[in-house]
């Protein structure tokens, strides 16, 4: 594999190699000296067409811990106000000799185009594209689940993960459904019917409109709450649900629902959280919450991805992942 574009592209062996490598990377991050010389002389460009300070910092930290040179390229502009074109940006990065481009983009498919349009020969890492994919988020989620519930090795066979919230607009959900399934876990998406995409019936997971029933009857090992964007409930006739209150009443993880969970069940959230909307403060700060750890694991997983895509021989020849 030359690029990391979609969690759906990963085979079981590739996913496990990424997680195993991330485990070794994580081990280095508890040391006093966290920096490794591995990617010395390599240039990683963080190309962000959409603001995401958290993801950018996580990738930047990962690349720097591996001694790569990091260039942050914030390409302002949105679907509304077009800035520099994707193509021109890619040609610029190519001229600058980027070895890897970490791209966050508001348009689904932009990383795929960067990787395949022939504008650029760097490795492309998708740091979130539109409502499509966010593969390193899925990997860090799988890593976190594996560490807590599967002894930190192997796959996630037999584990149950409930993903709750706005699936329709969520690249996190799309990435997780496929990766978790590849790793042997069972996934149930819990969402208001308006926030499940038409076509979801072909995804390798179950769906439910009823969070209480899912928690009580299915007894998930991990509950992953998705961020709900506040603009989804505005827009008058086009709103996806009537009010924040109704949403959190039906789909929010509060102390009452927290109490129903099996003892070992962990609570996850990709961040940033809307406390009081999809997750209550008690749930976010409870002992079950691994939300802060997800952030730390993000660095290890991104180090692993950068290492596996960049450290080996000429990346154009592909590597074992």
């Amino acid at each position: 594999m030359k690029h990391l574009l979609s969690a759906q592209d990963l085979t079981r062996d590739e996913a496990i190699l990424l997680l195993d490598t991330a485990a070794q990377m994580a081990a280095t991050q508890s040391r006093e000296i966290k920096k490794l010389p591995t990617l010395r002389g390599r240039t990683v460009v963080n190309l962000f067409f959409e603001d995401s300070t958290r993801t950018r910092i996580s990738f930047e930290t990962a690349a720097k811990r591996l001694s790569a040179d990091v260039i942050n390229f914030s390409a302002k502009g949105s679907s509304v106000s077009k800035g520099e074109s994707l193509k021109d940006t890619a040609l610029t990065l190519h001229a600058m000799g980027a070895d890897a481009v970490v791209v966050r983009h508001w348009a689904s498919g932009a990383p795929h185009q960067l990787a395949h349009a022939g504008w650029l020969d760097a490795a492309v890492l998708n740091a979130g594209d539109g409502t499509h994919q966010h593969p390193t988020q899925a990997l860090l989620d799988a890593f976190t689940i594996r560490r807590h519930l599967a002894g930190g090795t192997g796959d996630l066979a037999g584990l149950r993960v409930a993903i709750v919230g706005d699936v329709l607009h969520s690249r996190v959900a799309r990435s997780n459904v496929h990766l978790l399934r590849t790793l042997g876990a069972d996934v149930t998406l819990v969402s208001p019917p308006t926030l499940l995409p038409v076509g979801v019936e072909t995804w390798p997971c179950a769906t439910s409109y009823d969070l209480d029933a899912t928690l009580a009857d299915w007894k998930p090992d991990a509950v992953m709450m998705l961020r709900v964007q506040r603009e989804r409930m505005s827009g008058g006739a086009g709103a996806f649900f009537p009010s924040a209150l109704e949403y959190s009443r039906r789909y929010g993880l509060d102390h009452r629902r927290l109490a129903v969970l099996p003892d070992h069940t962990i609570v996850m959230h990709p961040g940033p959280m809307n406390r009081g909307l999809e997750i209550s403060a008690q749930a976010a700060d409870s002992d079950r919450s691994v939300i802060v750890e997800q952030v730390a694991n993000g660095v290890a997983v991104r180090m692993a991805a950068l290492y596996l895509l960049l450290a080996g021989g000429s990346s154009a020849e592909g590597t074992s992942i």
Partner: protein, 193 residues
């Protein structure tokens, strides 16, 4: 005898390996005037079981040596200078000895010493992990052809080779039996007769 025989020569058998390790253990104790400050770091893959065996021998010689707490393993993959000349290597485990390495005499243990690049990487890794009093190097086989100013402190066997030969250490823990073999040797036909 037959052309089907693999073109290799066995240069050390199981007893030779055992004897070499015992001798190295004694030299380590002698050199450090006891093993109480010594910690062993095996370099994967085959340096790890070799370090384990050395640890048992050190404990037998000097009861002050704790063969569990003073034993670790050091993966040097992320410190190598030849990463992008080769396909991506899987990153191995690094496990420091429970007693740590600061102020200790670290003995790096590897199977074959060749160019010295692995040991260079190991020295860089160690300096990121702590500050030992001294770092020494033990290897089962030194086959020469150094590319860096590195030499072993403890050697099981010096093995003059040519660069196109392959030296393979096989260990019971990994390969089923102990031996050291050379393959690709030009005079193979004569030796296997």
């Amino acid at each position: 005898m037959s052309f089907a025989l693999p073109p290799f020569t066995t240069v050390l058998g199981p007893e030779d390996v055992a004897r070499a390790l015992t001798r190295i253990a004694h030299e380590v104790v002698e050199r450090s005037k006891g093993a109480s400050d010594v910690v062993l770091l095996g370099i994967p893959t085959r340096g790890v079981p070799l370090a384990q065996r050395l640890a048992e021998r050190l404990a037998a010689i000097d009861p002050a040596f704790d063969p569990v707490a003073a034993l670790g393993e050091l993966d040097v993959t992320m410190y190598r200078d030849d990463l992008h000349r080769n396909p991506t290597r899987a990153v191995g485990v690094t496990r420091l000895p429970a007693v740590g390495i600061d102020g200790k005499v670290v003995v790096l243990v590897d199977d074959v010493l060749f160019s010295g690049r692995t040991i260079r990487a190991a020295l860089d890794a160690i300096s990121d992990l702590g500050r030992p009093r001294a770092v020494r190097l033990a290897c089962l086989v030194d086959r020469g052809h150094r590319e860096l100013p590195i030499r072993p402190d403890f050697v099981g066997k010096n093995l003059p080779t040519s660069t196109d030969e392959r030296v393979q250490v096989q260990l019971a823990e990994i390969d089923g039996a102990d031996s050291v073999v050379i393959s690709g040797r030009a005079a193979v036909g004569e030796e296997t007769r």
